[in-house]
Symmetry: C2
Subunit: 191 residues, 2 copies
DNA sequence: GGCACTCTAGATAGATCGATCTAGTTAACG
DNA sequence: CGTTAACTAGATCGATCTATCTAGAGTGCC
């Protein structure tokens, strides 16, 4: 039973969707990258590309959520420093991947916003999960309004990723991180 | 000479790229939407889809730049209020268009980041132009560092647009607008 | 062994993709 | 008028797309 073909397909799809988007990625390209037989794709994802897309978004989403939580759980640093860490880590990953590894959801989310309701919904759920995790971290430190600040951080993060990736320059991520972190610090309860 | 076929093609391409992205939009679909003959497309854009893409990005970019400038030039309101206006106007447009009219550049920018250097470059130039216009407005009011703050505003704006469009809910735009405007206000010179 | 089930392997269908090509039509200008 | 260029119109090409289909290989269970 220990076949990992399905996992490899998800992994390859995640990488390709992240780099070049959903519409530009062919199923043939995914099976080739996963070194998986064509027949397996429709065995594991009988509803075709859209199902693969939805599951890939969920896969990338929870994987990234764990990354956020990992950073957030280091409570020796304060919340504003955690936020800055997220930006900094993403900037590193972006540059190291030759500007390929941006947000694994954003491209698909924009493509699907009006073209595929299941896909759009999956992306919305992922964003909501990220926001909730960030809000929890803020609330745990008494930073309020936690939910609004989480939305704000996520917005700035996604936007800075776009600008940096498009410009091939991490400056937007670093500049935005500084100003966002300052906002969060200003909302720390006086201690 | 007064043929507007070329303009109609650009307009239709801009709308379709904005709604569903570059890769998902076929040239046939563009000519159909523009009510333009297939032959005209390669007459006006002999280098094909990529050339049309680049010119469409430039077209949408300068059109949006004029919109920014229009808001920014209303100097009776302060810079932080102008920023809020941009967010609010976008939220209205987004909702009224059934979540179709997000950023006309972002989707293409993400798709092209690793797949088409000319297209990516065109998007980067547009973003740079928007940033410069915003920075000029800030500098004119003594808000410094103008360039960093412009990057920050643009990041938050782009990200909030993604979140709102994906969630089919303008809350991210409004929440982010409030917090960003507060940051800008805090950078006003004491007057 | 024999049956059932999972997964692999790839041929193939049918549609659509971007791009090229040739005619035909229209307009500009001498 | 005649000539040239601009533009329209669409057939057509090869490639590629998603999806379906059949056949076979592997595996566990009775």
């Amino acid at each position: 039973m220990g076949s990992d073909t399905r996992a490899r397909l998800l992994e390859a799809a995640a990488q390709l969707f992240r780099e070049q988007g959903y519409a530009a990625t062919g199923l043939k390209q995914i099976t080739a990258a996963a070194e998986a037989p064509w027949g397996s794709l429709y065995h594991f994802f009988p509803r075709g590309k859209e199902q693969l897309g939805v599951e890939t978004v969920e896969h990338s989403g929870t994987r990234y959520l764990r990354l956020f939580d990992l950073v957030y759980e280091r409570t020796e640093s304060r919340a504003d420093e955690s936020v800055r860490d997220v930006f900094r880590l993403s900037a590193e990953a972006l540059e190291k991947s030759n500007w390929g590894d941006g947000c694994p959801i954003a491209t698909v989310a924009l493509e699907a916003a009006t073209t595929s309701e299941p896909l759009r919904h999956a992306c919305a759920e992922v964003f909501a999960g990220w926001r909730a995790a960030t809000a929890r971290r803020f609330a745990a430190e008494g930073i309020e309004p936690a939910d609004d600040l989480a939305i704000y951080v996520l917005s700035a993060f996604e936007g800075a990723l776009i600008l940096s990736r498009t410009a091939h320059d991490t400056t937007p991520l670093h500049v935005t991180a500084d100003l966002v972190a300052r906002t969060i610090r200003a909302h720390h309860p006086t201690d």
